[in-house]
């Protein structure tokens, strides 16, 4: 098992040795540092947690960045031809792919940690003294800090699903750009698809991946955005999709003839 972590270490090196990665980290760092300052200008009386809840609107940034890295981690090895020298080591393909998946998941956590860490630090610095009950979006009730942590968790769940999807496309199509494009299209089209196959009207809609994402829909209403579902139901549907994505990813990668 110790040796397996050396595989993950290898994958980490491949991620962090790229200039691209540091640009992503730089952009996220700036957003984390500067957004609270901006919130301070826009709103008179803002608290730490309402600032954080607003900052979470930028969740798509770390998500899209991780999607890009996930798509590259498999497809990039094929397009560069490095996959050949990687696979002729005494490791099964399953373990090599698993090490990649773990490295990508760790990268996702690192990006969120950077955004939330810097954002929280700045917010405490700027708004730590204020009474901080005003919600600048004016639509939330209950404890704002609880709301933030739950939303963050749910965003991480969504992000993991999208990243796993990108990872799957990358393994199946071996094309970096196609994987990124497909995943991001789905990320932005998801809402539209659920609008067309409205779960409130059609039974089928309830089983769509996108109708069950953004679990924060259950914070305000136990039956979700469409009033026909529950947290448990959505979690089961998400788990089913997640496991199917992973099975397909690993199965294709294990079987594939490498002719890169």
């Amino acid at each position: 098992m110790f040796n397996f972590f050396r595989l993950v270490h290898n994958e980490n090196i491949k991620i962090y040795a790229r200039v691209r990665t540091w640009i992503m980290l730089g952009v996220l760092g700036l957003v984390g540092l500067l957004m609270p300052v901006l919130f301070g200008y826009v709103s008179e009386d803002i608290g730490v947690w309402s600032a954080m809840n607003t900052l979470l609107q930028f969740w798509f940034l770390p998500t899209v960045f991780t999607i890009a890295v996930a798509a590259d981690t498999v497809a990039g090895e094929f397009s560069r031809g490095t996959i050949k020298l990687l696979l002729i080591r005494p490791w099964s393909r399953i373990k090599i792919l698993l090490s990649k998946y773990i490295a990508v998941a760790l990268f996702m956590l690192a990006l969120y940690a950077l955004l939330v860490g810097l954002g929280l630090g700045m917010s405490v610095l700027l708004f730590g003294h204020s009474s901080g009950t005003t919600d600048i979006l004016g639509q939330l009730s209950g404890s704002l800090s609880d709301y933030f942590w739950w939303s963050l968790l749910y965003r991480l769940v969504d992000c993991l699903i999208y990243v796993t999807m990108a990872f799957m496309f990358s393994s199946v199509f071996r094309s970096n750009s196609l994987s990124v494009a497909l995943t991001i299209i789905l990320l932005f089209m998801g809402g539209l698809i659920t609008l067309l196959v409205n779960p409130a009207k059609y039974e089928l809609g309830r089983y769509l991946l996108f109708a069950n994402m953004d679990l924060s829909q259950y914070i305000s209403d136990e039956t979700g955005s469409y009033g026909v579902s529950s947290l448990g139901f959505s979690l089961s549907v998400l788990a089913a999709y997640y496991v199917s994505f992973l099975i397909l990813t690993f199965w294709v990668f294990r079987k594939r003839d490498v002719a890169a």
């Binding site: 040796n3 040795a17 560069r80 050949k84 002729i88 005494p90 003839d257 490498v258």
Partner: protein, 319 residues
């Protein structure tokens, strides 16, 4: 008098083989789509040799090497390396193997050294000293900490060799390793491969279409064409010398008459060529002289492997 009329020399005998084969191809077939790329390859690679795998472009050398390294699965048949099946016992079988498959592409955004570290980390038996040793050997020591993106073709090839020998594999598989190397590099590689087989008992399986190259470094050569094994022969072996002794008899104008008298041999570009042995040459000469045909010269026709290869593969058309 013995005139060997068979145009093709006898395939090298396997008598010299000592020990179990390091690689055993057992009726390996590879089909991609409707195309059969390798058709029933059965071949044993003896240990401790430089074994050449020769074939024209598109004959299936790289495909064979991809199957040997587990990158592609055979459609049927099996490849056994050091007693372990590459399809059923991959991790065990591949741990004995170091390889270059086509171009050795590496992570261009990492330095040569960090690339080697990547592969070293995937094994438990590669020390830091070993990495330095391999870097020294491949002559990359001055550039090893530069990014691979700044390397020339030959330097990348050298780095490819470095990663292949890093863990002292029992079987070294090299797909056209001299591609891009300068004469100095080719020479060093050739000497090194010989040394490896002698000192460490490594078996080297090297593919090439550079025939002159193969003649210089291989003990045995297998020749494939259009996915079929057409010949296996030992080089520098006695069988080779005797079987391929072709002799030109210069008989001036009376060449047709001489040919008729001989009842064998052939006329090749205006010259009478006979395949025979030492005694045969003397006897034929005697025969001609007795028949009143003046013999102006007798000359051994030394055909390089290249000539034979071109002859066998019909000029090397891509199939």
């Amino acid at each position: 008098m013995e005139i060997i009329s068979d145009k093709m020399p006898v395939p090298g005998s396997k008598s010299k083989m000592t020990g179990d084969p390091v690689v055993r191809f057992d009726n390996v077939v590879k089909r991609i789509g409707r195309k059969t790329i390798i058709e029933g390859l059965t071949l044993d690679v003896p240990p401790g040799q430089v074994f050449g795998f020769l074939g024209p472009n598109g004959s299936g050398k790289t495909t064979t090497i991809r199957m040997m390294t587990g990158l592609m699965a055979p459609s049927s048949g099996d490849i056994v390396i050091d007693g372990r099946s590459i399809t059923r016992d991959f991790e065990q079988a591949i741990s004995q193997v170091g390889a270059i498959v086509e171009n050795p592409e590496m992570y261009s955004y990492l330095s040569g050294y960090r690339n080697l570290k990547q592969y070293a980390r995937m094994r438990s038996d590669v020390t830091k000293e070993r990495i330095d040793e391999v870097v020294q050997f491949t002559g990359l020591d001055r550039r090893i900490h530069d990014k691979v993106s700044t390397y020339s073709l030959g330097m990348r090839q050298r780095l490819g060799v470095a990663q292949a020998i890093l863990h002292r594999p029992k079987l070294l598989i090299l797909d056209e390793p001299t591609n891009g190397l300068d004469p100095q590099g080719i020479r060093e590689l050739r000497d090194y491969l010989r040394e490896l087989t002698r000192k460490e008992g490594t078996t080297v399986f090297v593919s090439s279409h550079l025939l002159s190259e193969m003649e210089l470094m291989c003990d045995t050569v297998a020749i494939i064409q259009a996915g079929k094994l057409i010949d296996v022969r030992e080089l520098h072996g006695e069988a080779d010398i005797h079987a391929t002794l072709e002799t030109i008899f210069d008989v001036g104008e009376r060449i047709e008459e001489a040919l008729a008298l001989l009842g064998g041999g052939e006329i090749r570009s205006g010259q009478l060529v006979v395949r025979t042995n030492r005694e045969g040459i003397a006897e034929i000469n005697n025969l001609f002289v007795q028949a009143g045909i003046a013999v102006y010269g007798i000359r051994a026709l030394t055909r390089t492997l290249e000539d034979q290869f071109l002859e066998m593969t019909g000029g090397g058309g891509i199939v």
